[in-house]
Amino acid sequence: MNLQQYFDFNRFYKLLKFDLSFNSKKYLTFLGVLIIVLFILDLILLDSTSNYRILENNNRAYFYRKSDYQVSLFITFLIALFLVVSSSFPAFRKKESTSNFLLLPASTFEKFLIQFFIRILIFSPLFILIFWVDFKLASIIYNLLDFKKDILIPDFTVWDVFSYKMKLSDKVVILLSILSFASYLLVNAVHFKKNAVLKTIVVFGIFAFTVFLLNVILSHLFLPNEVNGFDVKIFHRYLENGLRSDQFCVYVIGLFSSLFLLPLTYFKLKEKQV
């Protein structure tokens, strides 16, 4: 088997250069909008914490909590990741550009890897950096404007997002679940031609509703006396390390979905026809 037909570093570099150059305007515009939106969002978040309001009435200094920063970063990251990854393979939105993309002299694996590389591996740390810079800027502006005198904003570092009080195993689960989430978005981006972002939401909605409905049916079948209407009752046991069985099940899905979804994305790309 000639591995060069699947991956060649020079070809990958050429494709990366091509993608960045070809989409430079699009990427820069998106980053510009992202910087502005996150900056405004950070200002709003700094100003609108409910705890602050209570403390303000008591005329005491308020510490902007690191956990607030971490949670807001996590939520906005998921939203941005959704937008970025579900709009992967932009060439597939039009028939003409699909042919052009598929016939570009690079391997299917390289074409897949480019999207994974740019939209997941590069974008994720870039987002954390942008969020941090925006937060710094927002806090400087916030304090300069001096319209909320008593706020004390701790000096976060860019790495503080990873210092959330949580077990390491839970952090790994979250990280790999994000990867699974991104992989799911990537499959949809390859599969759908038009309105991929919207269709991704619809498919997820249908999937989530089906799972919910299945659980309702199973709950009524196995525990008819314990549920009413659309109630869901899930049996669980405690495992040796204190983990609950239902929690463990969710962990396994989060951890390993990407192992199925990433090869599926590659396969869908390989089998793409025009």
């Binding site: 037909q5 070809f22 042919s99 016939l103 026809q273």
Partner: protein, 272 residues
Amino acid sequence: MICAKEITFNYKNKPLFKGLNLNLECGNIIGLFGKNGAGKTSLLKLITGLLKPNAGDFQVENYTPFDRYPDFLREIYFVSEEMYQPNLTLKKYINLYASFYANFDKSKMQNILEEFELKDSYKLQQISFGQKKKFMIAFALSTNCKYLFLDEPTNGLDIPSKSVFRKVLVNSVDDDQLVIISTHQVKDIENLIDDIVILNDGKIALHKDINSISEKIQFKSVANTTNFDDIIYQEKSVEGYKIMLPAKNNTETKIDLELLFNAVVSHTELNF
């Protein structure tokens, strides 16, 4: 070399090709003809790996097209009828895409652009359909790919551009290249092609080189057909009749591609 064996292909559940066989050698310019919906574009897409046959074996230079290996993709260029038009200047397009083709000739590109009266500062989205087509033809020829596939290349081209197209094609193509031109405009390419491939009823109804056709068949325009008892095929025309006759006394005539095409698709028996 392109080799198709017993290709079956359904398009949107409608059978298009059933048991299609085709062998094409390099060093030729091939005219691919067929009625609307006969599958000319689909055949080109199958050869370039944009479509996957339902059954049968396709080989292009020992590659299965649908594998879309980079070494294979580097050797083919497909100018589709549905042209891609990113928001780029011609110069940027050339700089971006040319790097993928090892044999891309930038000076050839400049020359062809000049022949077509195109400036590389033009923006692809701001030029006419015909200009886009000319640019894509220029790019395809400059890649020096071994296999070039041109789908309706003269559609949208003005009259002077059509003759420039013929000129640049003849000057650009080497002996080791294979060019397949799919078109309805037979007049535009009748002096260019070496081989004729006619698709009909999901099969290759005719695949012959121009020489063997003109050795075997004569094409004439006559006022009436009463003096001819061996007419293979005839059609009414402004002057009277266009007829096809078995060639006699080694007298070769210019091939009337339209007449030949109509004869083939009307299932006329041609004894080559």
